[in-house]
Symmetry: C2
Subunit: 379 residues, 2 copies
């Protein structure tokens, strides 16, 4: 009796909240739907959909984006499907309910990939050890900066390592970390798990404490997901378009960061890395500004067969650099372009690492690359 | 021909991204689904679901959470429904596809309300002028702080006003802004539009430039949406439980903020406001620490009929304060408790404002209250 009135009191106080829903489920004996549920050898997904006639499951653990798995229905209207436990990683998945893709309402962890939201499955162990919260965690901020080069106020995400605030005399190196087409200033921190990866690497002593700057590489967007900031119109075919952003990195972003943070303001204190389009930006900014960055890491990107890059690579060689690290998956649709970049680096006598992994043009690869080249920076 | 090969090149480069999807839609003549679409007098919602047999629309513009609207289907399998344009505000809505609630896949703006994600409709004009991006925008950071009181490292969100970084000698007052049950350190910044509201009020000269600190009021959670931080078990019925967090505000959070930010470290420089459970925290922290905060604003919360609070209010009166501002909707299920607080303040002779609005226990009310009491702080 006392338990029931406490329950009623709580439900009244919390009415309309998620906690109230949980209490209602508890009070009225309906088990909450658990999804995804990881057991020893498998993962089970569940969706309450008593009126649906077909529910399917699609997840990024299968490379074939056309394949989905039919789910079965129990007598209570809960649809379920199990898959063998995939290798440790972060996967995204969706349900397809009577032909419509949707997220898993029982799973609070979601990621935004460009304009789509996807439910997240994290399989522990292995690489996922870098996605867990470390004991010592850095902070993340979003800042607006003026970009006279582009003619906008723009936004970027900045990670400062654990201890930065309590070390007022310390100066830190900076990694400029660039996203791909379809991403924005939130991509690396949300899909890329940059904070968690950096926290874990730094805590273990594998990586140097560093600041990580994640700008928005789409110069027609002031910022992701805002209201009242109209996008600008650019002509995509205008060659000036690509360099507009690349120039703004050196002319607008680096000066802002080196003014507002305690940074090591020389090439040995600057790294640039980027995936896909951001790999293109990485090459463009180091080609245009040789000697600006000591560490250069294009990921899942390269050059066109026969693209003239020799004079630019020679300029980088002459200016000096500490690391040129190229990463690409052998299933990546840009693998040949990465091979061409590797060959150009060889041909021009630039010492470099060419890291060929399995897999394709995917976040598991980009996160993993960060755990590899991240350990080589600023040493 | 040239246009097509550019398209193919772009699609190859962007494969798998949202941009590629848009290009495919463009290339193959399928119009992208526009939803929601605001026209002069109405809003139209659309969902491509050719295999569904029933699609319904539910939105927060109707107060009755059981009511939803049947959508119609066109021959291409696009379901659609229009509603009269509701008053300017931020609304949340869902589709119900063959009985299953889901978000609008054509709408990139979503909000997380506790464990649920909801699609967002923003109707411009009126109050929504405060939700737009101002010209001068503040920055937002999430920081981890030690809470010896609770025995955890915890996370909070901190807003710094425009110009804070470029004003190294300026000292700022601080608003501690507390969320309700089911919320966390992201609630006020995402559902509450705190950054946009503060930016607009400060830019217009309506509010003083201030720092806003948004902690996590659930002491069993280290932080929202993390992996590898187990929640702590507390006994909800233990009276010490409630004060654990309230004590941590004064013992852990305020010292962190006043150490790491340029703040005005006296009662005239400190305000506390909170909604629902956070309104309870607001009263508890000011009752327990009279004289700590000059500005006290409980929202959609009050006291139980007959609750002994006189000695605590007398202590606040004696210590002195600048503002006691109570806001509540006349449809709020806690309206009577707010009335009881108002009467207790009257009875004890504490000057205060009792702001009674329409509506209930809702974010439109809480955002609106921020635009009202926010202008009264630190003046």
């Amino acid at each position: 009796m006392k338990k029931i009135s406490l329950l009623i009191l709580l439900m009244t106080t919390l009415a309309g909240t998620a906690a109230a829903q949980e209490l209602r489920n508890f009070a009225f004996g309906r088990q909450p739907i658990v999804s995804p549920e990881i057991t020893e050898n498998q993962v089970t997904f569940r969706l309450l959909a008593p009126k649906a006639y077909e529910v399917r499951l699609y997840g990024s653990w299968t490379a074939d984006y056309r394949s989905s798995l039919a789910m079965a229905r129990d007598t209570a209207g809960v649809w379920y499907a199990s898959i063998p436990l995939p290798a440790p990683e972060i996967y995204t998945y969706s349900f397809i309910v009577d032909g419509v893709m949707m997220n898993d309402p029982s799973n609070v962890i979601m990621q935004r990939d460009g304009t789509r939201y996807l439910s997240v499955l994290l399989v522990p162990g292995g690489i996922s050890g870098y996605y867990k919260e470390a004991t010592q965690r850095g902070n993340v901020r979003t800042v607006w900066y003026d970009s006279p080069t582009i003619g906008m106020q723009r936004r970027m995400t900045i990670y400062t390592p654990y201890g930065y605030e309590n070390n007022p005399r310390g100066k830190y190196p900076v990694l400029y970390l660039l996203h791909g087409a379809g991403g924005d200033e939130e991509a690396w921190i949300s899909m890329g798990y940059t904070r968690q990866i950096m926290d874990n690497m730094i805590e273990k002593g594998e990586a140097e404490p560093m600041i990580v700057v994640m700008p928005n590489g789409n110069p027609w967007q002031e910022a992701a997901k805002t209201y009242g900031l109209p996008e600008r119109q650019f002509d995509w075919r205008d060659p000036a378009f690509a360099n507009l952003y690349v120039n703004s990195i050196v002319k607008d972003i680096i000066p802002y960061v080196e003014k507002h943070f305690r940074t090591i303001n020389k090439p040995e204190g600057r790294a640039v890395a980027g995936l896909s389009m951001g790999g293109g930006h990485t090459m463009a900014v180091t080609n245009l500004y040789p000697g600006m960055f000591g560490y250069i890491c294009p990921l899942s990107m390269g050059i066109r067969e026969g693209q003239e890059i020799d004079s630019q690579l020679q300029a980088i060689k002459k200016a000096g650099y500490k690391l040129y690290w190229v990463g690409c998956g052998d299933q990546d649709f840009l693998f040949e372009s990465a091979n061409a970049l590797h060959q150009a680096l060889e041909r021009n006598g630039l010492e470099h690492t060419y890291h060929v992994s399995g897999g394709g043009h995917t976040w598991p690869n980009w996160r993993t690359y960060l755990t590899i080249f991240g350990k080589l920076l600023f040493k």
